[in-house]
Assembly symmetry: C2
Homo-oligomer: 340 residues x 2
């Protein structure tokens, strides 16, 4: 089924049929003709050939979404938000998963660019990210989600880490904790670094002694890295009574480390995660964590991207959406210090 077939059926020239079928140029065709063409297209089940159209217009009406890890439950709701909004605007969403591998990321980005994606939503950004910066320099419309670059060259949407960490630390302080540790996430990611800085700000704001607030760094956002980082912190002569983890998986690793040395959560140590992954409420103990409005983040990112596509050269807005603390069972008041 090609445009020629439709044109023949409607007894018009293919050029005219094209104009009639196209929303934007439809008003340059006589109403009766438009109706005939539309009817013919409908009847024949005409589907325009994306390749031919793309070849001509250099537009694909497709957007690439680049994820670090499909298996991380943080991202599906973001994708859903993106997809819903883009579908309304007639765009297709092409999801790819880099598996946290920069080489795969480069390969997939090249693949999507070769397929002429009209824009990108990137959830894999590191604070220094040459690949992204190069693409932006090439004028490729692009929006970052969740993870940002240090250089604010690209529009971006993320959770408000500072507010999230602040409310979490405030919760711990209000429970009576004064010795609060932080298991920071990877420092080459804006999330890891931002939450770490926000934590430092928070202990200052609540006038906690820095010496009582140990910090350890997990080198990945997973349970193994969280476990390893937590072991060191818990082995200190006077471990903290509460731990703010860089994200939920690090928090789970921390719980594992506590189990190893017979520490109970929340009786001995309170733990807070970040992201509010599913199932957390069913754990033992149910994990207190900072909730991110994931679907909204996705939808806002999609809006920003459409702006970029339609008016190139706009400013690199950064949108931070509020997070809120979800209090569950992994936080409690510290026990009064007991003699050993």
């Amino acid at each position: 089924m090609t445009l020629r077939d439709v044109a023949r059926a409607a007894e018009v020239h293919p050029g005219t049929a094209s104009k009639a079928l196209n929303e934007a140029t439809r008003d340059r065709v006589a109403p009766g003709t438009v109706r005939r063409v539309l009817a013919a297209a409908e009847r024949l089940g005409y589907q325009p050939n994306t390749f031919a159209r793309g070849l001509r217009t250099r537009r694909s009406y497709a957007v690439g979404v680049v994820l670090p890890d499909l298996a991380n439950p943080l991202f599906p709701p973001i994708v859903r938000g993106v997809e819903k909004l883009l579908a309304k605007a007639g765009y297709a969403t092409l999801i790819v998963d880099t598996d946290n591998d920069p080489a795969a990321e480069e390969r997939l980005l090249a693949m999507l660019r070769a397929r002429h994606a009209d824009g990108f939503i990137i959830a894999t950004a590191r604070r220094e990210h040459p690949v992204v910066e190069k693409a932006v320099a090439d004028g490729v419309p692009m929006v970052l989600v969740n993870r940002l670059t240090d250089a604010a060259l690209v529009p971006a949407v993320a959770g408000d880490e500072v507010a999230g960490i602040s409310s979490a630390v405030e919760h711990l302080v209000s429970l009576g904790h004064r010795r609060i540790g932080h298991l920071a996430g990877p420092q080459d990611l804006s999330t890891g670094f931002g939450r770490y800085r926000a934590f430092l700000d928070a202990i200052q704001r609540f006038e906690l002694a820095a010496a009582d607030c140990p910090i350890a760094f997990a080198d990945a956002y997973n349970e193994a890295a969280g476990l390893q980082a937590a072991r060191g912190m818990l082995a200190a002569p006077v471990p903290p009574t509460a731990i703010m983890a860089g994200n939920d998986l690090i928090a789970l690793g921390c719980l594992d480390a506590m189990a190893e040395v017979g520490l109970n959560c929340p009786a001995d140590v309170s733990v807070i995660g970040f992201n509010d992954l599913p199932m957390l409420a069913r754990l033992d103990p149910p994990l207190t964590t900072v909730h991110l409005p994931q679907e909204d983040i996705g939808a806002e990112a999609a809006k920003l991207l459409l702006d970029c596509i339609n008016e190139p050269g706009g400013s690199a807005k950064r949108l931070l959406l509020p997070c809120h603390l979800t209090v569950r069972g992994s936080t409690a008041s510290p026990m009064p210090p007991r003699p050993r």
Copy 2:
């Protein structure tokens, strides 16, 4: 950067450059020429235009993967298996999520067909599935994963439900259970129906009294549906001592229902899930479940799809991969009946 530019730089005709660049036709070009063309392409950073190529060859080297729900952790590993294998063969993987909505499925499938996906991997099949059957009739290469259609018209890869259920029931029987219930999944899905039938077979094989083995149907694979179905079963005068759930989420709903009426798992009732979602080991109690080789399922599906694409009209093979029971803390021997 077009082919013309490369040809000009290598001082050959565009047609020759095309042959030199193309693996399959390279041997029809003098080795020296090939080298010159490849060098020029490399130097200029030439990327072939997918639209132009696709328009000419009617091939996209892209495969669509249609998922019912991205947020379901069952699917990401399958997608990963698919992606790894297809990338090796030079294919791009385009993932879409129907959100369990048949209308969205139809829209997305049409979108992918308009973009000339060379084939599809479908994880959304219902036992009766006109959309899939129509696409197959149209000669679109297609492989089903996990969920199959009743009509065996399409190649498919799934877990061996019968063996999985059988080993789970065997485990319960060996623990001493004789009254085992089944919370079946949706019967319009092959998984729900297949596990239900496998359960009936199993109780027959182990010579359990059908009257002691109640069956209830959950109308969706989620916790709410599991909760509702479980309530009825637990309200019976003599509830079963063990419950085989249609999948993990139904099992979680079952645990919720037990909590409502003060029943303990596994002391009062043992529960087994299906799929082995992540985090299950951390629940209270850790859920015994049937594990599916998800990544293998994805990889095998991709292989089958490549066969379909390269040799259309092959037979509709069905491949069932073994599942194994993962025993955790939600199953135990039944308590001796106690007087009330």
